[in-house]
């Protein structure tokens, strides 16, 4: 039934960005040995590589390769861009963060690159095997990145937790895949879709179990409740740049997979899983927003906030429509800018030996660093979804998609929860602007972080007031998916 696996140049061309990244990763490992002591070399190389990849992604043509296992289409391309944008930010932030947190390992960049490779593979995965492989490539790299600070207890713990739970999730995912394989007779998503179309899923418990377990695994990766509990701990323990990275790029890649599996594979039984996704989305938003209220560490708060945002992004998947998919993509793209911006501020504020990750450290920031505070204010309002920031555009597109798909009740709950979220985002603003300063904050601005901040600011404002292009691109990328 499966067509022969053909290995051809066309397929390779499709996978050019991935191939390029692998090469880059290897090169980076070597460069560490070849040119020791060149502090700026690795980041520069990485940045160049990522930008090149970005160019390759944008320039590449659409198509299906590797015997239908690897697909480059609007969705893939869009998510790849999001992942790469997230990585660009990460590289920019890493400069300072590494100095601050005392990371001197050359493998940092290569691991980052391998992780990104995994993500790009995930975005293009049209077969469950590829999904699994991409996922593992990404996850394994990130486990390492999280635990890269070998002597930091918190990083150790974070890596351990992430690893154990990630491994568990992979196993569950894999078992789910195996069940789906058995019942659909194939691992190709398009073929799966064709197989199960017209079947009464409700009468096939094993298929349901397969779908359920798949969903569990993917939900773990995106960090949806109740599979979210690794997120806060890992985000807090990981080096801040990696936290920022994790909150954007892997999440986007996992969403790519989630979207493709649910929409390309299981759309025919949308009504079966939609209710699950609705429940998960609601629970995720609730848990994320509510628990974030009582956080005292900004990193942890942002971790819970990222959980909440996953809940919003799930609304697009829930809708199960072209519009929903575009909305999710749209949202994740915007989220990359605002969240990276927020993390950039967090990174900038940290000093050697002083993490300054407590919310209290933000008291009176507006007095000592007005620019930084203003930017943080912008990002916080954007995360809340207040216009004219980009966050509003993202949220609006999601709400619109969900309403149009008929999930008005869920949307009402979502907006109420986003009002809850306003409280903790505003708390940061309140501390910065309305409280007395808690000691002077000498902030040494590095070029990388400055560029990151500028980029984030331009993105948040620009996408807020002129979102037309992004919205068009996202909706074009979503074409053909319902």
């Amino acid at each position: 039934m499966a067509e022969p696996f053909v290995f051809d140049v066309a397929s390779l061309a499709l996978a050019a960005p991935e191939c390029f990244l692998v090469a880059l990763g290897v090169l980076l490992v070597c460069a560490e040995f070849l040119f020791p002591g060149q502090r700026l070399l690795l980041p520069a190389l990485t940045m160049t590589g990522i930008l090149t990849t970005l160019g390759l992604v944008l320039a590449g043509s659409a198509g299906i390769g590797f015997g239908g296992m690897f697909q480059v289409d609007g969705l893939a391309r869009f998510f790849k861009v999001v992942c790469l944008v997230g990585t660009v930010f990460t590289v920019l932030l890493s400069q300072r963060n590494r100095q601050v947190e005392g990371m001197r390992h050359g493998e940092y960049y290569s691991l980052l690159i391998f992780a990104v490779t995994g993500m790009l593979v995930m975005a293009s995965a049209a077969d469950l095997i590829v999904v699994y492989l991409g996922l593992e490539l990404m996850s394994l790299s990130i486990y390492c990145l999280v635990g890269l600070l070998k002597h930091d207890l918190r990083a150790n713990e974070a890596a351990m937790k992430y690893f154990i739970m990630g491994a568990f999730a992979s196993a569950v995912l894999l078992y789910g895949i195996s069940l789906v394989y058995g019942l659909a007779g194939t691992t190709n998503l398009a073929a799966v879709s064709a197989q199960i179309a017209g079947r009464d899923a409700a009468s096939e418990p094993l298929l349901l179990a397969g779908i359920g377990l798949l969903l569990v695994g993917l939900c773990f990766k995106v960090g949806a409740a109740p599979f979210h509990q690794w997120t806060p701990d890992v985000y807090e323990g990981a080096p801040t740049a990696i936290t920022a990275f994790m909150s954007v790029a892997p999440k986007a890649a996992s969403f790519a997979v989630l979207a493709r599996v649910m929409l390309a594979g299981f759309l025919p039984i949308h009504e079966v899983w939609a209710v699950l996704v609705a429940g998960i989305a609601l629970l995720t938003m609730t848990v994320g927003n509510v628990i974030a209220l009582s956080q005292t560490s900004i990193k942890r708060m942002l971790a819970y906030s990222s959980i909440a945002h996953v809940g919003y992004a799930l609304l697009g998947v829930l809708a199960g429509t072209e519009e929903g998919l575009s909305a999710t993509m749209n949202y994740l793209f915007i989220y990359a800018f605002m969240n990276m911006g927020a993390f950039a501020v967090v990174i900038l504020l940290a000093e050697k030996g002083q993490r300054r990750e407590s919310l209290d450290d933000y008291r009176g920031l507006a007095a000592s660093n007005p620019m930084l505070a203003a930017l943080m204010l912008l990002f916080m309002f954007s995360l809340t979804g207040i216009p004219p920031t980009a966050g509003f555009i993202g949220k609006f597109s999601l709400l619109m998609a969900a309403v149009h798909a008929g999930y008005t009740g869920v949307v009402v709950a979502a907006v109420m929860l986003s009002a809850v979220s306003a409280y903790f985002y505003l708390r940061v603003v309140r501390y910065m602007y309305m409280d007395a300063p808690a000691g002077g904050k000498d902030v040494g601005l590095s070029a990388g972080v400055a560029v990151a901040l500028g980029l984030a600011m331009v993105g948040v404002i620009g996408l807020g007031v002129a979102p037309s292009a992004l919205v068009s691109l996202a909706s074009q990328a979503g074409i053909g998916f319902p």
């Binding site: 937790k161 359920g212 109740p226 079966v272 209710v275």
Partner: protein, 639 residues
């Protein structure tokens, strides 16, 4: 529109603005402009009266005030016989009070402000009487209320004065509440607020009904009663009379002008002006008659025992206003306005006389500290005597003619409560004479009961004050002659003059009955004077004994039947308590804020709880994931 009509209200308005702005600079010369303005107004009023007497009735719009949908209201002037009479009363007394105040208010630090307010009042009152539509009436109505508020509280550093001003305004608002609803009902009924149009269409609404708050009324009755609410407030009828006695906190010239001669009579003016509407409802007329009669007796009895010289006169004012309402209630609008006219002069005279006494006594107002002032204040004494005689209905003086006509009309009317009103009126005529002369004797006869410093201070007022007294005394004597009835050889000129506006209520009784009634009322008045003389001049020890033997009645009277206390207990205090405890503390702070703050607090608490689920134990997380997965599968199967 004749120029003088524009000038009539404009002069005092400009005077108000200019005096207010230039007050600091003008200082003790601040009275010049207002007096000039008042004189101009008087001149214009006389011109208007002249025109009206020659049959020229003006009804013209000045400019359009409010346009909204089918509502179109203008500022405009209607000058007919009624207006002309009011204009002359208002401007003449206003001018005299202005002049009087130059002496009375001399040396007051806020001298310019006082005159500015007087001008404001004159302007407002003129706007009230000149208006050719209900809304302008309301404009003037509220504006005189404002002037009254400002002038009562003129000495605002005194808490009692500030309280009294506020009370006057708020109590009046209760009346305005009805009045404004009445005006709206007029608009809804007739589609216009213009007097002439409304009055022309008025007969057409007989028999129509209107449902308000679930109660169905005859439309004319409802309109009339709502309008009358306003009159009750402004003219201090029961149950809204409580503000007027307190209003005596204001400077005495103010009491004379506003709280005796002009503003408080606006209620009578309103009823008279709207007589085509009131005529349509016998229910309303009966209500007016009864309210008038009851207030009449009520106020007169309180006046019996008051010891504050101004308060006695104030209650007497309430009582006399009630006469006017009785007149209107029995359909004798012309008689009511006639009494308004005569009363303006003798009551203003009484007040200004009081002012002169107070001035001489250095601010003392308690009659128990006076006595024997006759020799110190001769002019005041004689003018005061004339005023007292006039109010007591001594034959030939102003009060005699007007009061007598009212009693006659009440007796002969076909309004059901007419006889009742007549009887009360007669009793009150007796009481009025009694308390007026009680006051007179206590003040001017006997021996001086004040301190020696006060005695040394005693002096007759300067001419700037006494000349107005004398002029008013002339009015108090002669004003009545205009309405001298035919049986006394007069021609009822007043009634003839007013007939085009107010209609003519003829008393169809034999001359004998008319004579008899007149005799009875004169007798009542004279016996009142005699009794006062007996009790306070011949047997000064008697009043004390009477007080002893009727102590319970005395207590009720001297406390004004506890009406103020009653209102505080059932209206003011409950409202404050409701505000503080029910609304502020309970509904707002507990109920609504409870939800508003409670939901976030609940979420916050939930956050604290949920947060602990994140225990840090990886096993717990795994368990949560596993149970989540199981839950997911179970749900999948169940759904």
């Amino acid at each position: 529109m004749p120029l003088y009509l524009v000038l009539l209200p404009l002069a005092p308005l400009l005077s108000f603005l200019l005096t207010l702005l230039s007050g600091k600079w003008m200082g003790s010369r601040a009275h010049r402009l207002p007096i000039l303005a008042a004189s101009i107004s008087l001149g214009c009023a006389l011109a208007a009266g002249w025109d009206v007497a020659h049959g020229v009735v003006t009804d013209a719009d000045f400019y359009t005030w409010i346009t909204a949908g089918d509502l179109q209201v203008s500022f405009g002037f209607l000058v007919d016989q009624l207006t002309a009479a009011m204009l002359i009363v208002v401007t003449s007394i206003s001018l005299l009070v202005h002049i009087y105040s130059v002496g009375y208010m001399q040396g007051d630090p806020s001298y310019p402000r006082f005159f500015a307010y007087l001008s404001l009042f004159t302007f407002s009152m003129l706007m009230l009487v000149l208006g050719n539509n209900f809304l302008q009436l309301f404009f003037g109505w509220e504006a005189v209320g404002l002037s009254s508020y400002l002038l009562i509280g003129f000495w605002h550093q005194k808490k009692s004065a500030a309280d009294a001003g506020k009370k006057a305004f708020i109590v009046n608002r209760f009346g305005d509440f009805g009045l404004s609803l009445g005006i709206m009902l007029v608009f809804v009924t007739f589609g216009t607020l213009h007097y002439q149009e409304v009055f022309q269409a008025a007969p057409g609404i007989v028999g129509q009904q209107f449902t308000l708050l679930g109660l169905t009324f005859e439309l004319p009755t409802l309109i009339a009663l709502l309008l009358f609410c306003g009159a009750v407030g402004k003219s201090a009828m029961i149950p809204l009379h409580v503000w007027l006695p307190d209003a005596m906190e204001g400077p005495t010239p103010v009491s004379a002008l506003i709280h005796a001669a002009t503003m408080v009579t606006a209620g009578v003016f309103l009823v008279a002006r709207c007589n085509p509407l009131f005529e349509l409802s016998s229910v309303a007329l009966n209500v007016i008659t009864v309210v008038g009669a009851v207030t009449c007796l009520f106020a007169a009895t309180i006046a019996l025992v008051q010891t504050d010289i101004k308060r006695v006169v104030a209650y007497s004012t309430v009582s006399q206003l009630s006469y006017m309402f009785v007149a209107c209630g029995v359909g004798a609008y012309s008689a009511g306005i006639f009494h308004l006219f005569t009363h303006a002069y003798f009551k203003a005279l009484l007040f200004l006389g009081c002012g002169s006494v107070i001035h001489a006594m250095g601010g003392e107002q308690d009659v128990r500290s006076m006595g024997g002032l006759k020799k110190y204040l001769p002019i005041t004494y004689w003018t005061f005597l004339l005023a007292s005689l006039s109010i007591s209905g001594a034959p030939g003086l102003a009060g005699f003619f007007s009061k007598d006509e009212i009693l006659l009309m009440a007796y002969t009317t076909n309004i059901g409560s007419g006889r009742f009103a007549w009887f009360i009126g007669l009793v009150v005529a007796f009481i009025t004479a009694f308390y007026s002369f009680r006051l007179f004797f206590l003040t001017f006869h006997g021996r001086f009961r004040g301190s020696t410093e006060q005695r040394d201070h005693l002096h007759e007022s300067p001419p700037v004050m006494t000349v107005p007294l004398i002029l008013l005394a002339v009015g108090a004597v002669t004003a009545g002659w205009l309405g001298s009835p035919e049986i006394l050889g007069g021609h009822s000129m007043w009634d003839h003059f007013m007939a085009p506006v107010l209609g003519r209520a003829e008393a169809h009784v034999p001359h004998f009955t008319e004579w008899l009634l007149m005799g009875i009322s004169v007798f009542a008045g004279l016996s009142g004077i005699w009794l006062a003389y007996h009790l306070y001049v011949r047997r000064p020890e008697l009043p004390g004994q009477l007080r002893e033997s009727f102590s319970e009645t005395y207590r009720w009277l001297v406390n004004k039947y506890y009406v103020d206390e009653f209102y505080v207990a059932v209206l003011v205090q409950p409202a404050i308590n409701c505000s503080r405890y029910v609304l502020s503390a309970f509904a707002d702070a507990t109920l609504i804020e409870g939800v508003v703050n409670g939901v976030p607090r609940l979420i916050g608490r939930a956050s604290g709880r949920l947060r602990r689920l994140q225990s840090g134990h990886v096993q717990h997380y795994l368990a949560a994931m596993a149970s989540g997965a199981v839950g997911l599968l179970v749900w999948l199967y169940l759904v």
